[in-house]
Amino acid sequence: MDMWRNKRLRVLLWLILGMPLAGAWGQAPNSCLDCHSVLDAPLQVTPEQFSRDVHSQKGLDCASCHGGDPKKTDMEAMAKGAGFRGKIQRSQIPGLCGHCHSDGAYMRQFNPSLRTDQLSQYVTSVHGKLLAKGDVKVAVCTDCHGVHDLRAPRNAQSKVYPLNIAQTCARCHANAAYMKGHAIPTDQFAKYSASVHHEALAVRGDLSAPTCTTCHGNHGAAPPGVGSVQNVCSTCHVFQDQMFEKSTHKAAFQAASLPGCIVCHSNHDISHPTDAKLGTGPQSVCSQCHTPGDDCDQATKEMLSGLTRLNGAIQEADRILGVAESSGMEVSEARLEEDQAHDSLTKARVTIHSFRKDLVEQDIEAGLKIAAKNVQAGKDALKERDYRRMGLGFSLVAIAAVVLGLWLYIRKTEQTA
């Protein structure tokens, strides 16, 4: 048994017995895999594993990265003369990958739309800068993309598939022991997992929802600077950005070097915003800076009151339309308009980012008008329902009278007969 545990002996036996047999079966010789498939981790690479690798599928082989000659059936395969490089040092990995991936002409033959700026971005990233300073603990290409069974990013099993990115980053960034010596927190993944963005991505399956790389970049990963937070958020939240641009907060935040959106919404643990964030309640974010009773405090109170009024009016319309529907009344047109009232509420909530009472009031008034119309539609439907039931009552009395009359007539004629 000890004999089989001897790694060198296993490789030797494979060279003597296995390889000639493989050749006899007509397989393309790859002496690297022949040996590495029987080695233990981390040296083990099986043919199945490598066949799943996107590079292998595009016709590249071990020698493309490691040099040497896999066609040689003995230790000649790893001869220095054949350009064998052996294990690639971590510090050399970005350069090695970039050798092909930065070559536009070379990459075009595999995928003409694939970007070729990964290496140039990487050297500007925090990872790349630290690696240049000799910190080999930082992420290099293979840490995020994998190695030997590397999948294309659109493959759901890829480590950089949108649903897997946060986990991939967390492997280092949520590991306090590994991150020791780097002055950044390690709770980002835990916070992100509780955020509205994570819910959209992982629970609702919206692959366009933000993950780590959406805000930090991928190859050029770095925290957004104070001045660029608003720009990062505005890539998705366009209208909120436009409103914030119109607000007095824009200049005030810049003057105080406050990082835009995240002052009120936080960064990794962004929760679903509620109207309670406005005003002076315990969940208010305004009170972080504003003192109770100041001009701005009054304005937010009025804006909050407007949102509450509109929300209440929509709910009342919804209730009365629900009653009409459960009575069998056809109110689908009002239901359609109800969506417009909801849109006005959403728009008002977006307009809050301008912190201008007049603009918010416009949206609220528009929504209130639609909600009032819907309440009236519901009331009309209920009135119509009562009218129908009254008509039914009269009809049933008339029908009962006819039936009674017929019965009396039949009795009379049959008694006479």
Binding site: M329, S332, L392, L396, I399
Partner: protein
Amino acid sequence: MRALARVRDWLDERLDWAALIAPLRHKTVPIHRLSYWYFLGGITLFLFLIQVGTGILLLLYYRASANEAFESVQYIMTRVQFGWLIRSIHSWSANLMIFTAFAHMFSVLFLRAYRKPRELTWISGMLLLFLTLGFGFSGYLLPWNTLAFFATKVGTEITGQVPVIGKWLMVFLRGGEEVTGATLTRFFGFHVAVLPGIVTLLIAVHLALVQRFGISVPPGVEAEWKASPGAARQMKFFPGFFLRELMAWYIALGVLGALAAILPWELGTKADPFAPAPAGIRPEWYFMFMFQTLKKIPARIWFVDGELLGILAFGAAGLVWLLLPFFDNLGRGRGRRMILGAGIFALAYMAVMTVYGYVAK
């Protein structure tokens, strides 16, 4: 009044009106403890007449195209004066008509009114029942709402399973490979032209046969009357039975009005052929027992496809049911007992599978 009498005399002189209505004047209806079952056929006829009347009114506004059908029904329900009432009565009456047609069929079966010489009356009635189901199936799609669209898709898919002609039948019904606007146009054509024409003709035949052979007396009552001839009682169709039938029609009208006013027939949402089928797609209640059977039947029974076997079984059962009177004289009362057993089994099976279809997830 004198003018009316003159018109009557004028018609009588030319058409011999008195001779024409003489059979009706002499027509009688047996009176016994089970006579109330005789009203079911008349109520079904009344509901059919309601269908014709409300159907014609709906035609004034309905548009049979995939782009306009739903909106036109919505318009009828919300904008047209009493449109909601007409449409709701049409839908409720359709369902009640299918119910009373089934009840009429089972009452005839259990009272053994199909016996010689009324075999043809039974066959014409069964054909009318099948055509009534065809009315239900074709009319269900016409509002072009989500439930109707997917139920029709499933229903026509089932016809596609029929051996040899299944595929052709499915394409014929759908007007192509898929349920589209072409299917709606076809179903509209069947519903307002083909089926009413055939059904009107068959009703005429059915009523003529009822008139020709008279109304059947159940064998038990017949035996009692034979034992004591004095117990036998008859009622004149005019006016005695006719006025009672009229009372039943008025009551049916009241029930229809109440259902339409208290539970107006809902419209649902417009069909989107590109949307995924919503969960819990079900046919109308009168197809539920067949649907549930086909749903629960094993995928393969021996070496035969389960669903195909189910369809063949229902087809065979329908054919046997159509020819039921011819089995009555088998053996010494064996055929009669078999028909009674089959009737009880069919009624129980339909009831249980229908309830199961509604309560099963």
